[in-house]
Amino acid sequence: MSMDLSISRHWRRKYSIYRLQAARCKACGRVHYPPRPACPYCGSRDLELVELPKHGKLVSFTKVYAVPEGARAQSPVYVGLVDLGATKVVAELTDITDQTQPKEGMEVEAVLRRTRVDGEAGLIYYALKFRPAIGVPDV
């Protein structure tokens, strides 16, 4: 999730935020998102960067009314736990309406959206969010 953002933090993590870049531990095979310098399971520092698939299944979700500054227009914000096979990620959900309510087990896909806007003059923060799948391919 990308609730805690600053210009430098967002820029440093842009490949995770824009493309779901993760790290796979070469010792035990576990995949960590966002990438970590060391595997929290086996302690190995031998990890490689991989891109996660942009399609998965919604494991669970919650609805957040207490949104950060710059996200009021998007309230309520839905946050989901998404199973991407290699690992699970926590991310915002989008295109949630009365007719398209999230359900556990629902197929979802990641698309680029605004997550927060820093006032009228500041930076626009983009991030991948998951929405009910319509079959937009990975590239």
Binding site: A73, V111, R114, I124, Y126, D138, V139
Partner: protein, 351 residues
């Protein structure tokens, strides 16, 4: 004499899920209930609260790259045509290129020419691809069209995107066999740098702008290529409303049969830079090998391009690789004027 030729390797569209019935606009602003009936549009597509021209362009581009069946890193130029740039200064093209894995070895810029900036990008890319400067280029037309609340433009100003991967002729789904551009200085529509909404020069929008430029571009293409309306299976024009594209098409000698499949504005409103190009994407979704397509985008200020495009055998295998325009048209949720106001940021919030 045909010019240098280029290929269209992938096409993609995007339409946001939200639709605002035009009756809501008429009700809110006290228009006569019949006011918008002459536009031949009943509802318009509206971007969500977390969408803008960049995010919509991203999705259309992803669909186009998937159909092109190339790696994003093979793209060496990204042209983003819009008149609703999220930033006045800071390119959308680099954000999309980064998010799709096209960076860093690529040209990238945002183009402005009202509704035809993306078409200019398409024509520039076809020259760059045919010259060998680049192998593949990506052009995106995307707009969250703005209109002053209460202005007649509000009935049609809609949101959507279309994108194409342009490259060599070999392996392409369609070949751009010829094209021309026709521009003049015309005061039909403008938006000053610090203004949120455009103005239109009332007497100029129809005949001296839209019809004059499109007709001259298409007639020049006919003269140059020797082609006639009967040589085309489909004809697609810029679509500021549901009526103009039919009128200009019929004036040029095309039939309703040639015009109907390229229409999208009657269903979702005018998506500006995506208007004619989304109509083109919709036609590619159903076109057969050998079909010839006339494409004529228009932009205020003013100018029009006319392209003659021939579909190849490669089109069939690419069709199922991404959602079609019809799938996006069918995916819709109706909203009211207050949700539209919030989504499009037309409620002034005191900070």
């Amino acid at each position: 004499m045909p010019g240098p030729q280029a290929g269209i390797h992938g096409w993609g569209a995007y339409i946001p899920i939200y639709r605002l019935p035009l009756s809501e606009i008429a009700r809110t602003w006290g228009w006569h209930p019949e006011q918008y009936k002459g536009l031949a549009v009943e509802e318009k597509a509206v971007a969500g609260p977390d969408e803008d021209a960049t995010t919509m362009g991203y999705e259309a581009a992803r669909n186009a790259i998937a159909r092109a069946q190339i790696k994003p890193s093979e793209i060496q130029a990204v042209f983003f045509g819009t008149e609703s740039k999220p930033y006045a200064v800071k390119p959308s093209a680099t954000i999309i290129a980064e998010a799709l894995g096209i960076t860093p070895l690529t040209m990238a810029s945002d183009l402005e020419f009202a509704c035809r900036a993306a078409s200019e990008g398409m024509r520039a890319l076809s020259g760059m691809a045919s010259s060998g400067l680049i192998k593949y280029g990506l052009v995106i037309g995307s707009d969250t069209a703005q209109a002053n609340p209460g202005d007649v433009l509000e009935f049609t100003a809609a949101s959507g995107a279309a994108a194409f991967v342009i490259g060599p002729t070999s392996g392409a789904a369609a070949i751009i066999e010829d094209s021309v551009t026709f521009v003049t200085d015309t005061p039909d529509f403008w938006r000053r740098a610090q203004e949120p909404y455009p103005l239109h020069g009332e007497g100029f929008t129809g005949e001296p702008a839209y019809f004059y430029h499109i007709k001259n571009a298409v007639k020049t293409l006919f003269d140059k290529s020797g082609l006639r309306p009967t040589d085309f299976k489909y004809a697609i024009f810029h679509q500021p409303n549901g009526k103009f594209p039919l009128k200009v098409g019929q004036d040029l000698g095309f039939t309703m049969e040639q015009l109907k499949d390229g229409l999208v504005t009657p269903m979702i409103g005018n998506t500006y830079n995506a208007s004619a190009l989304m109509g083109f994407a919709k036609v590619l979704d159903k076109a057969k090998p050998g079909d010839r397509i006339l494409l004529a985008p228009f932009g205020s200020g003013a100018g029009s391009d006319a392209y003659s495009i021939v579909v190849t055998d490669a089109v069939e295998a690419k069709k199922p690789l991404a959602p079609t325009v019809d799938q996006y048209l069918a995916r819709k949720v109706t909203i009211d004027y207050s949700a539209y106001s919030k989504n499009r940021g037309i409620i002034y919030v005191i900070k």
